[in-house]
Amino acid sequence: MSPMLRVELAQSEGALTRLIGLVERRGYSIRALDMTPGADGAATAMITVDPRNAGRRIETLERQIERLFDVIAVSAMPDAHAIAATSQGGMGCRPRA
């Protein structure tokens, strides 16, 4: 069971680095990442994560991500399956088979 996060963020310098760094250092490894540019300089990132430690709550990570100033909106799907990288217009990143 790998939770998934849907994050809408402003594509300002460092925004994605800041987001991914936060996810990792809050105790989650990133299984998959897909980013799709949207309108008005925003983008949507779909991130599938695995908690490294038992007891980490995805709701807490969601609120920590929400604090970031580049983040426009975030929602967590605790029971989502891992997503496949999109083939068009996306920056897909999957673990090697």
Binding site: E13, G14, T17, G21, L22, R25, T60, R63, Q64, R67
Partner: protein, 568 residues
């Protein structure tokens, strides 16, 4: 915290203004924002700002290590509630700030950090004194920006202050490439600040749920921390304590919220907390957690912390609610407003209140120490009492830090400056300088140890240069005392690298820096020493020799619950 006005975020048309360089916009914007003092150290990349500083109304305080600039700005912010400002060049200047930035982040202190950077065209080429300070500081800033357009310098700095000071405060870093600082722009973009409606108001349903829990509790405890002062809720907590009589404990950062003599105030909880406080929490059936984050120093073994207690958790930062301990009622909202609306009337807790009060008396600290040497806990108690309401302690890290927390009296939380979350040795002297400059009428005492003071001892020069009235109380036990204590009790007395047998004569060192200094050897000298310290009009250092075998008690060992307190 003052709510920011809700206004649009679209950029306006460029504002008519004289043609200024990016660096001149830095200085002008700081002046417009009411900044009076910045702590910094010059260098190549930041030189345009230093050029623009000449003739400015800003008072620049030249420190002798950039880390001290960050610590001093941090302390100024803790005392005033407004963002402190520090400034350094690129490369090593910026990396030297990082510990101070992390310190501000861990304790949620508002700070604006300006770093020089190599010219934009050289960024990413391993240029001289180039480091990616933006990338390095990502985990320890509330926000950060690299300014690419000189026309946005002013708006970026303005926004940085708003971000630093709003909500849960924190440090904001602005990286300024040299070409941006040198470029002249005929106008500046006035980006409207982000909207911030201030803390949300707790719903009536949450208030009613909280009051229902409180009304039915037989053993409630108020557990308060650093978030109280940040929320401007110190008086609200005092009123709640007086109104309800609920026994109250404080974290390290929560000390000073309650008047120390309030009958229902049990003192600090946690690893070096008092027995009465820890017992109350462990036996409680309801914890009212205000502005706290269930930090491990306060909770001990988390799954054994307050095992029978329901939790009401109130904090401005919703990300803290449920992070470590689930709450029965979680309120992300204004603490003062929430507590003000919690008026449960009569609480049937007299037996509990009496028990807690009796334990407070029973387990009060015994200041009757044998021998004639200086007894640090007693000295600190006397010193804080003598300084009275003007007392501000700027602590370094170690045994002395814990003794300050246990034995000093604080009239308000802003009087206790301590590196809580990061525990950074070297904080004390620059913090004392920052605090004394921010509040010249206070009695600012830097309490430090022989280990800690060496980390920023060069700042004696800063204290001397500016005649800062900081009183340095150096408790010298010729060791890294807290590490020694842990090795004594948890590493089979296998002492490793804790012996500071070769310390210099610190009084001589201070005098070499041009600072008045004296040494205290025995307990009978303490009253005169206190009088001399408090009467000094400029910087002064009291070098106090204490017994290396003295330990901090009580102590909750690592991995234990707060009932497993070791005592002397």
């Amino acid at each position: 915290m003052t709510a920011l006005p809700v206004i649009q975020t679209a950029p306006t048309a460029p504002e008519e203004a004289p043609s200024l360089t990016g660096a001149q916009w830095v200085v002008r914007t700081l002046e417009e924002l009411g900044v009076t003092r910045i702590f910094g150290y010059p260098g190549g990349a930041i030189m345009p700002v230093y050029d623009a500083l000449v003739g400015s109304s800003l008072k620049h305080i030249l420190v002798r290590h950039e880390q001290a600039a960050a610590f001093a700005a941090d302390a100024e912010a803790r005392v005033t509630g407004k963002a402190g400002v520090c400034l350094a060049t690129s490369g090593p200047g910026a990396t030297n700030l990082l510990t101070g930035i992390a310190n501000a982040y861990m304790d949620s202190v508002p700070m604006v950090i300006l770093t020089g950077q190599v010219p934009s065209g050289l960024m990413g080429t391993d240029a001289f004194q180039e480091v990616d300070v933006f990338g390095m500081s990502l985990p320890v800033v509330k926000h950060s920006v690299i300014v690419r357009d000189p026309a946005e310098v002013s708006a970026t700095i303005t926004e940085a202050f708003q971000i630093a000071e709003s909500g849960r405060p924190g440090p904001v870093l602005i990286d300024l490439p040299k070409d941006v600082l040198q470029a002249e722009v005929p106008s500046r973009v006035s980006l409207r600040p982000r909207s911030d409606a201030g803390p949300s108001r707790a719903s009536d349903a949450d208030i009613n749920a909280a009051m229902a829990l409180l009304a039915s509790a037989k053993k409630p405890v108020l557990y308060m921390g650093g978030g109280v002062a940040m929320a401007g809720a110190t008086q609200a907590v005092r009123d709640f304590m007086a109104r309800t009589g609920v026994p109250t404990v404080a974290t390290l950062k929560g000390l000073g919220v309650s008047h120390p003599d309030a009958q229902n105030f049990l003192g600090m909880l946690g690893m070096h907390g008092g027995r009465a406080a820890n017992m109350a929490v462990q036996e409680s059936d309801l914890l009212i957690a205000c502005g706290v984050r269930f930090d491990d120093r306060a909770t001990g073994k988390l799954d054994g912390f307050a095992p029978d207690a329901r939790i009401i958790h109130i904090d401005a930062d919703s990300a803290e609610l449920g992070k470590l301990r689930s709450a029965d009622v979680a309120i992300a909202g204004g603490l003062a407003d929430t507590l003000g609306r919690m008026d449960p009337g009569y609480l049937d807790i007299a037996p509990w209140r009496d028990l807690c009060a009796a334990r407070k008396v029973e387990h009060a600290f015994d200041y009757n120490a044998p021998g004639s040497g200086v007894f640090a806990p007693g000295l600190l108690k006397q010193l804080s009492e003598a300084a009275g309401d003007k007392f501000i302690a700027a602590c370094d890290v170690g045994q002395h830090q814990m003794w300050v927390a246990q034995h000093c009296r604080f009239a308000r939380p802003e009087a206790h400056l301590t590196s809580g979350g990061l525990g950074a040795m070297g904080y004390g002297l620059p913090a004392g300088i920052g605090a004394a400059m921010a509040d010249p009428d206070a009695q600012v005492i830097t309490v430090t140890g022989d280990g800690s003071i060496m980390m920023n001892i060069q700042e004696l020069a800063t204290a001397r240069r500016y005649g800062v009235p900081v009183k340095i109380l150096l408790l010298d036990n010729s060791s890294l005392g807290l590490v020694r204590q842990w090795q004594e009790y948890f590493f089979d007395q296998n002492f490793s690298e804790i012996d500071l047998y070769d310390n210099p004569d610190f009084a001589e060192v201070a005098r070499a820096f041009g600072i008045e200094a004296f040494t205290v050897h025995s307990r009978e000298d303490v009253p005169d020493a206190i009088e001399r310290l408090l009467a000094a009009r400029g910087p002064i250092l009291a070098h106090v020799l204490i017994d290396p075998r003295e330990n901090v008690w009580p102590l909750v060992p690592p991995g234990k619950t707060n009932t497993d307190m070791m005592e002397d």
